[in-house]
């Protein structure tokens, strides 16, 4: 007997379209998620890699502030000798350059470079020429600022060290030196051939020495770095690859992409569940056909093989649809992400991403279709005589499939993370989340089951949840987990917004001026032309509390910081630094917690008032003697009061407030804040900075706006991708309605025969969906609120808001969505006359 039966397959595809459609949509959804995410991730990653390489100008950079040991040099030279990498050296240092024979001199930031630098990125010159067409021994390229400040021009000579070189061009862009980079002097590029002639790189010179390597094989980058690392003194030689050298922004994107990948995996799993439940529904409607086929002598294999082909055909349609949608999505992404992604990022989907997605999609389809198809084997021909569901047996294959799905899930996470330990932690965490969701669902369902509802439609709706094979449990678990993640993100976003954006009092200062010198205050106030409080700030170290070292800050900020540019230095204890102020009275929004008055009686020498949090953190009590070192002057102060400050207050808060006469003479700066209409900020800022260049301006409005827009864009992207999981959840609801279609048709027919109106039946079905939505949303909200509370409290250390309005809205929206989807899927059932069902039953008997 032949195994393939094209007509049979065609018939299966042609009938019962709705289940096939759900199945196809689930497959498409998993594909579109994968393709969009891979495409998005690949694009960002490519751009970041390109930027990261350009940022260090190489694949590997070996760097030290001391001349390299010969071992390091020979290791690099050996790599170059065997052709594993191209190499180049650079020497970067400050030097005073002069116009030959004239007075002017200028501290400049020199970079002496071998041919080859930079291996990545392009140096742009004012002339438009290529770097190496200009830079040669005897010639230098300088920044415009040098020309301006020394009063020289291109073609002039420049005295650098012992050499006199000619200015050949002006540099306008240097890829490995960000424009925001702080520098004490303008850039001068010198050819490596002139290094000896400069006579500046000697013992006693402070030079940043670098070896740049461009790997012949991009995959060997880490190996090359390790090769050098083995011979280098780690304390003094820093070895970066373009990967390790990534900036904070890039690390953020890496984490963000990882998070999105997890959302993607989650969606994939949900889509898988949708695939399984829609296929179950699809096959259930075919039990009769299959039983007849078996009665007529078809083998189980015939049935399985032919249905597998049906499934694969449907799967292929879904995959194609998904990939197509993925491409469409790529065009919409840039609009969604504009201003958020690194500039000039190209959003394209590589063939590799599509192939990978398709393969992964295939695995998911096969995995999740296994059980429903496997169960067909248990279907006996006698099904056509006895109208019974085939028994659910096969505990072993079921457990195996579950294990395989778990394995796939963990495998995907490991693949995305590339770190087994973290991946296992994450997979474990996800399992725990699912477990919690499952336990909560089970508890809620048990409670509901015992709930004796007297109101008839309510009782019938409740009973509907426990309809055989309803999948209520699966729907609630998946929906509540998906919604939980989404709610949690939303609640955190709203909390951050409330904390930073909305809670800023409308009359509080929004522009702050720091570092006003005491002798500038009068002129400053005149220029400002507004009433403002001027607050003195005095830097000081807290050396001791009652002669003993202050309690340590748990975050270890009191350790030696290693100095500029270096890794960790000494780990000895450093006294904590504070900014002190002085004033005669409590500020607005402050109140005394302990002590009779701010500075006690007049007898007290050097009285100080301490903020409660500071007192708690450093173990300070009323009457304690605090030893400060105020920029070289030791001062013992007695704690006369402990203050508290209103949570809503926008006043600056100071850990230590002194009586005025103690600190009036201390070295200090002054700061102030004013409230300015947003459109006047820029003008004010320009006016003040022009008059007082040493003053720093902080525009809180801009800060808050910038922060809010970053938060908003991040959540936008997260929401966008989380929407896929929600879609998957809704598809599960639809497929579940179809899976229980027969049971629902039966119920509807019975209700009508027994005298229920169409409206009554609709009400029961609607209520059932409301219960389903309410249950899922309530559980999701519970989990989301707990998680968001924990994150806000422990991670962000911010006040948590429960957001009752938003919570109710989230539940309402969920219920509405679930009800809408459920009712649309049930329309056919509600419309049909009971006789149709009864006749069907009679005909089958």
């Amino acid at each position: 007997m032949t195994l393939l039966h094209p007509t049979f397959i065609r018939r299966q595809l042609a009938t019962t379209r709705s289940q096939s459609l759900i199945f196809v949509l689930c497959v498409a959804l998993s594909m579109v998620t994968l393709v969009a995410l891979r495409g998005f991730g690949d694009s960002v990653d490519r751009a970041l890699t390109r930027d990261a390489r350009a940022l260090i100008g190489a694949d590997v950079v070996v760097q030290s502030n001391f001349a390299f040991d010969p071992a390091v040099d020979s290791a690099v030279e050996a790599i170059a000798a065997r052709g594993a990498a191209e190499t180049a050296r650079t020497w970067e240092f400050y030097s005073v350059v002069r116009r030959p024979g004239e007075d002017g001199s200028l501290l400049s930031n020199l970079k002496v470079v071998d041919a080859g630098w930079p291996f990545y990125g392009t140096v742009e010159l004012a002339s438009g020429a290529a770097l190496r067409a200009v830079l040669a021994p005897g010639r230098v390229i300088v920044e415009q600022a040098l020309l301006d400040r020394l009063g020289v021009q291109v073609g002039d000579a420049l005295r650098i060290g012992d050499a006199t070189l000619t200015i050949a061009d002006v540099i306008t862009f240097e890829p490995d030196r960000p424009t925001t980079f702080f520098s004490l002097g303008p850039r001068v590029l010198v050819d490596g051939g002139d290094l000896a002639a400069l006579n500046l790189v000697n013992p006693g010179s402070r030079v940043t020495y670098r070896w740049l390597l461009k790997a012949a094989d991009p995959a060997a980058v880490d190996d090359l770095a390790d090769e050098v690392r083995t011979v280098a003194d780690r304390d003094f030689v820093r070895i970066d690859t373009f990967r390790t050298a990534r900036t904070g922004v890039e690390r953020f994107f890496t984490n963000f992409l990882f998070f999105l990948s997890l959302v993607g995996i989650f969606t994939l799993m949900l889509a898988g569940i949708g695939i399984q439940s829609s296929l179950t529904a699809f096959l259930r409607e075919r039990h009769g056909t299959i039983a007849v086929a078996k009665t007529l002598g078809a083998s189980s294999r015939f049935v399985t093989v032919n249905f597998y082909i049906v499934v694969l055909l449907l799967g292929a349609i879904g995959a194609l649809l998904g990939i197509l949608l993925g491409f469409v999505l790529q065009w919409t992404l840039p609009a969604l992400l504009s201003g958020f992604l690194p500039p000039d990022i190209e959003l394209t989907i590589s063939t590799r991403a599509v192939v990978e997605s398709a393969l992964l999609g295939l695995v998911v389809v096969l995995l999740f279709t296994f059980l429903p198809l496997y169960r067909l084997e248990g279907l006996r021909p006698s099904f056509i005589f006895r109208k019974e569901e085939p028994p659910i047996v096969n505990r072993l294959p079921f457990a195996l499939t579950l294990l395989l799905i778990l394995g796939l899930f963990t495998g995907l996470v490991i693949w995305q993370l590339g770190d087994v330990r973290t991946a296992l932690w994450f997979a474990g965490g996800a399992l725990v989340l699912l477990l919690i969701a499952a336990l909560l669902t089970e508890a809620a369902l048990q409670l509901l089951k015992r709930w004796d509802v007297r109101w008839l439609p309510g009782r019938q709706a409740l009973r509907g949840l426990f309809r055989p094979r309803n999948g209520t449990r699966a729907i609630v678990i998946t929906l509540s987990t998906a919604l939980g993640v989404l709610f949690c993100i939303f609640v955190i976003e709203q909390n951050l917004r409330a904390s930073f954006v909305q809670s800023y009092p409308p009359d509080a200062p929004n522009v702050f001026f720091l570092d006003i010198q005491p002798d500038q205050q009068e002129a400053f106030a005149a220029t400002l032309g507004m009433e403002a409080d001027y607050v003195p700030a005095v830097r000081a170290a807290l050396m001791a509390v009652n002669g003993a070292e202050p309690r340590r800050n748990p975050e270890g900020e009191d350790r030696g910081n290693g100095g500029e540019g270096g890794p960790e230095g000494g780990d000895g204890r450093r006294s904590p630094q504070y900014t002190l102020t002085y004033r005669a009275a409590l500020a607005e929004g402050e109140m005394l917690v302990r002590g009779d008055s701010l500075f006690g009686d007049a007898e007290t020498v050097n009285p100080v008032s301490v903020l409660q949090e500071t007192a708690d953190a450093r173990g300070i009590d009323l009457g304690d003697v605090l030893s400060f070192n105020i920029q070289g002057v030791p001062l013992d102060a007695t704690v006369t009061s402990i203050r508290k400050q209103d949570a809503g207050s926008v006043q600056p808060f100071f850990g230590f407030v002194f009586a005025p006469d103690v600190l009036t003479a201390a070295p200090q700066t002054i700061f102030t804040g004013v409230r300015v209409a947003p459109d006047e900020i820029a003008a004010l800022q320009n006016r003040m900075v022009a008059a007082f260049p040493n003053v720093t301006v902080i525009d809180v409005t801009a800060t808050i706006a910038q922060f809010a827009s970053v938060v908003q864009r991040i959540t936008q992207v997260v929401r966008f991708f989380s929407a896929f999981s929600i879609l998957a959840g809704l598809l599960i609801v639809i497929s579940s309605v179809y899976a229980t279609r027969l049971a629902r048709v039966q119920e509807a027919a019975y209700y009508k025969v027994l005298g229920a109106t169409g409206g009554w039946v609709t009400a029961v079905f609607a209520l059932e969906n409301v219960l389903l939505g309410l249950l899922s949303a309530a559980l999701a909200l519970l989990m989301a609120q707990v998680a968001a509370w924990a994150i806000m409290t422990w991670l962000f250390e911010l006040e948590y808001r429960f957001l009752p309005d938003a919570s109710v809205a989230m539940i309402a929206i969920t219920i509405a969505a679930v009800m809408l989807v459920g009712m649309v899927a049930s329309i056919g059932i509600l419309r049909s006359r009971p006789i149709n069902f009864l006749r069907l039953q009679t005909e089958n008997e």
Binding site: V96, R539, G572, N629, G632, A666, T669, F671, T703
Partner: protein
């Protein structure tokens, strides 16, 4: 020397609801690294009550920049702390106060010298000028500031120890020699005790410095103190002789 930038303590400047790690992130987002020039205008003598020095104890004020403050090392490893320990071990009843401010140039020190001298120190170690050199400031200006500082300190009655500073060779031989010449000349003109080079035997030695090449480690400061000790002891003698 050292940290020319410092992170603003945003916590102190804005309100409490900006606090926490998110507040820090916000602060960094907003202002990043802000260049902070800290100093004070000379003001009339106030009425503070600094911690008094016990009678008979010699007060030594270590004025300077990050090399004095001890950037990157613990409190006990800074040179003033080690110097105090060494002097006490040698039987001197002294107290050494750390008056170093990271990133400070000679102009900054000039602005806070009155604040410092209110303590009426017996000996002042003035280790300043390194940041001037690293920023390429004209050695003539640096010399003028240091000379003014020495004059003011001597006028207060304290004995001045003036450790010489040298500049990294990469700045160019002319600048390096101009800079080096400041200290002997100021010492000669003022009568301050000159220690020829503060970082003698320490500068450039990888085993005694932090990876930034500029700042010594605790062991580096121990070597500095060993070199400095005789000059300080001499200054103590001079101070006690008055």
């Amino acid at each position: 020397m050292g940290a020319m930038v410092r992170r603003l303590e945003f916590d102190n400047l804005l309100s409490r609801h900006m606090r926490g790690r998110a507040g820090h992130a916000l602060a960094l987002l907003a202002i990043g690294l802000v260049l902070a020039g800290c100093g004070a205008a000379p003001t009339p003598m106030p009425t503070p009550a600094p911690t008094p020095t016990p009678a008979g104890e010699v007060l030594i004020l270590a004025i300077g920049d990050s090399l004095t403050e001890g950037l990157g090392v613990g409190d006990e490893e800074t040179y003033p702390a080690q110097l105090e320990a060494a002097l006490r071990a040698a039987g001197h009843a002294v107290r050494v106060v750390n008056a170093g401010v990271s990133g400070e140039t000679s102009s900054g020190t000039l602005q806070r010298i009155d604040w410092l001298l209110q303590q009426q120190p017996d000996v002042v170690i003035l280790a300043i000028g390194g940041n001037d050199g690293l920023r390429g400031i004209d050695p003539a200006l640096t010399e003028q500031n240091i000379a003014a500082l020495v004059t003011r300190i001597q006028a207060s009655g304290a004995v001045v120890v003036l450790p010489g500073m040298e500049m990294v060779r990469n700045l160019g031989s002319e600048f390096v020699s101009d800079f080096r010449a400041i200290y002997p000349r100021v010492a000669e003109e003022s009568g301050a005790l000159l220690m020829p080079f503060f970082l003698e035997g320490v500068a450039g030695d990888r085993t005694l410095n932090q990876p930034d090449f500029i700042h010594p480690t605790g062991a580096g400061y121990a070597a500095v103190v060993a070199n400095l000790l005789p000059y300080v002891e001499q200054a103590i003698q001079q101070a006690q002789a008055r």
